[in-house]
């Protein structure tokens, strides 16, 4: 049992490591000059595929028991069954919609409040202490309140996700606005920029690199909180599938859901990273060695 659990967590870690590695490398690929373009990207697949094959083989030759940790082929089979019945698409769409809505609201609120509290000292003094205090409440602790206030349906789920996304965005933006080079701000002052121009034409572009990082960590939290939200009672979604697999004793379904989370999380993060990379080509930053 513990061996199974270890392999499972190793698999998860491998996926996570692969995802970090690949996205981190992507800005450097804006001007590929390797002999084999794209070759370095494929390196990221070696680890998860290798581990999957190893597990498959171990079970096939009866070195290990595949009952509680189903082999990749069985997980794929479960995914295929779910996909054929149309169930998978329904769950994926429900979860994606929650994450998208929660992310959008969280980003909007975090950006506005972060910009305001980074720019105006008075606003910062007014709202920052409260927000910092609220930040320290584990978001899951809000669940009972949210259910009381907004019911157990979509609203409370989206709000929970939005709260999770909000804080990294708010925190990073308000801090990085305060870190913008005074010398650039003075150029705006010389040209008599209004407050709005100062924010949109100097402060936000200057903080864009760290803002993108905040967006990505916010999105990661969004994926985390959607599971919590769907645990608290849902009729669909990948989190529901997870619970359903547990209650009906189908580990392959649980892992199918987990795999979907990994793939979707990775894909959305990649999308965010590659869209934002277009806006960051101006950066004069360190390009790691190949």
């Amino acid at each position: 049992m513990s061996a199974h659990a270890e392999t499972a967590s190793a698999c998860g870690a491998a996926l996570a490591a692969a995802s970090v590695k690949e996205t981190e490398a992507s800005p450097g690929h804006a001007w590929p000059h390797t002999a084999w373009p794209g070759g370095n990207r494929l390196i990221g697949f070696i680890l998860p595929l290798g581990l999957a094959l190893a597990w498959e083989a171990a079970v096939a030759v009866h070195w290990a028991d595949g009952r509680l940790l189903p082999t990749p082929s069985r997980i794929l089979a479960a995914l295929a069954t779910l996909a054929q019945s149309g169930e998978l698409a329904g769950h994926v769409l429900a979860t994606l919609q929650r994450v998208a809505l929660g992310f959008a609201f969280g980003v909007a609120a975090g950006t506005v409040l972060g910009a305001v509290s980074g720019y105006w000292t008075l606003a910062r003094q007014l709202i920052d202490p409260t927000l910092q205090a609220l930040r320290n409440i584990p978001s899951i602790a809000w669940v009972p309140m949210f259910i009381l206030w907004f019911g157990i349906f979509e609203t409370s789920k989206v709000i929970l996700i939005a709260v999770g996304v909000f804080f990294p965005i708010y925190l990073s933006l308000s801090a990085s606005i305060r870190g913008v080079d005074r010398k650039l701000v003075e150029v705006g002052r010389i040209f008599r920029f209004s407050h709005r121009e100062m924010i949109t034409r100097i402060l936000l572009p200057a903080t864009l690199p760290s803002y993108v990082v905040a967006l990505r960590s916010g999105l990661g939290l969004g994926w985390m909180f959607v599971v919590a939200a769907e645990f608290m009672g849902a009729e669909d979604g990948l989190g529901f599938l997870l619970i359903d697999g547990q209650q009906t004793g189908r580990p392959a379904v649980i892992l199918a859901s987990i795999t979907s989370f990994a793939v979707l999380g990775k894909l959305t993060d990649w999308l965010l990273a590659s869209v934002s990379a277009r806006f960051l080509t101006w950066q004069d930053s360190f390009k790691p060695a190949e």
Binding site: I190, F191, R192, L208, W282, D284
Partner: protein, 253 residues
């Protein structure tokens, strides 16, 4: 007319950067400010530009006090300070964002051509050399055609040839709409080539040591005996002002 009257500037850390400084600059005058490092030249320009306020005293342009940056006062900082996320033409257009787009494009390319950067228009600041970045910053200040142009060592990282070119351009430009110019420089020759009047500053606390009106006709010739005489005279002033030995100052120029 620009007037600086009895101006003191003490920074929050206690440094007295300027003390009792008086200066008047006539409309259309080209004034050069020279002086050793740390004698308050950049501080003086910041005060005139309205970026900082004096601890005491008064600065006024045509009778109205300067308390904040004004549209008719342009400043070229000692560093280029280009926005790294904007291309060169976008950076230059920064100063005329209120103009219609076609007028903007026309003026930007005209200015970039003036400073010899037409071919770098769409480049990022990180792709420019130090001197090119400085020229882009100059173009950004020129494009709005300010009435008063403050220049903080605008040519300091240029080679002698480009520098000479840009000095000529600056004079051309001055010929167009005759802005008042205050030019901070470490280059005595530059000061004598461009300025109607040269002010020598001295440090601790920053103040004006002496003024000098070079008796030279325009266009000026750097190899003219009169020009060389003025240069020697100014070097001597500068040597006294900074407390360095004359040889050392001469060696740095």
């Amino acid at each position: 007319m620009l007037s600086v009257a009895q101006v003191d500037k003490r920074y929050p850390n206690g440094v007295l950067a300027l003390a009792g400084l008086n200066l008047t600059v006539a409309a259309g005058e080209i004034l050069a400010v020279v002086g050793g490092s740390g004698c308050g030249k950049s501080t003086l320009l910041r005060l005139i530009a309205g970026l900082d306020s004096p601890t005491a005293g008064r600065i006024a342009l045509d009778g109205t006090p300067v308390t904040a940056p004004r549209a008719e006062i342009g400043l070229v900082f000692q560093e280029p300070r280009l926005m790294p996320w904007l291309t060169i033409d976008q950076n230059v257009a920064f100063g005329i964002r209120h103009l219609p787009a076609d007028e903007r494009t026309r003026r930007v390319s005209e200015c970039l051509a003036r400073v010899g950067l037409a071919s770098r228009s769409g480049h990022w600041p990180r792709e420019l050399s130090g001197g090119q970045a400085q020229r882009a910053a100059l173009a950004r200040a020129l494009v709005g055609r300010p009435k008063v142009l403050l220049l903080d060592e605008p040519f300091s990282s240029l080679d002698a040839l480009t520098r000479g070119d840009l000095q000529e351009h600056l004079l051309d430009l001055w010929g167009d709409d005759q802005p008042t110019m205050i030019l901070v420089t470490h280059d005595i020759e530059e000061a004598l080539f461009l300025a109607d009047r040269v002010v020598v500053m001295q440090p601790d606390p920053g103040r004006i040591r002496t003024e000098f009106v070079p008796p030279l006709a325009r266009p000026r010739d750097r190899t003219d005996p009169d020009f060389l005489r003025c240069k020697r005279r100014l070097l001597a002033d500068l040597g006294h002002a900074s407390g360095f030995s004359r040889q050392r100052v001469a060696a740095t120029v």
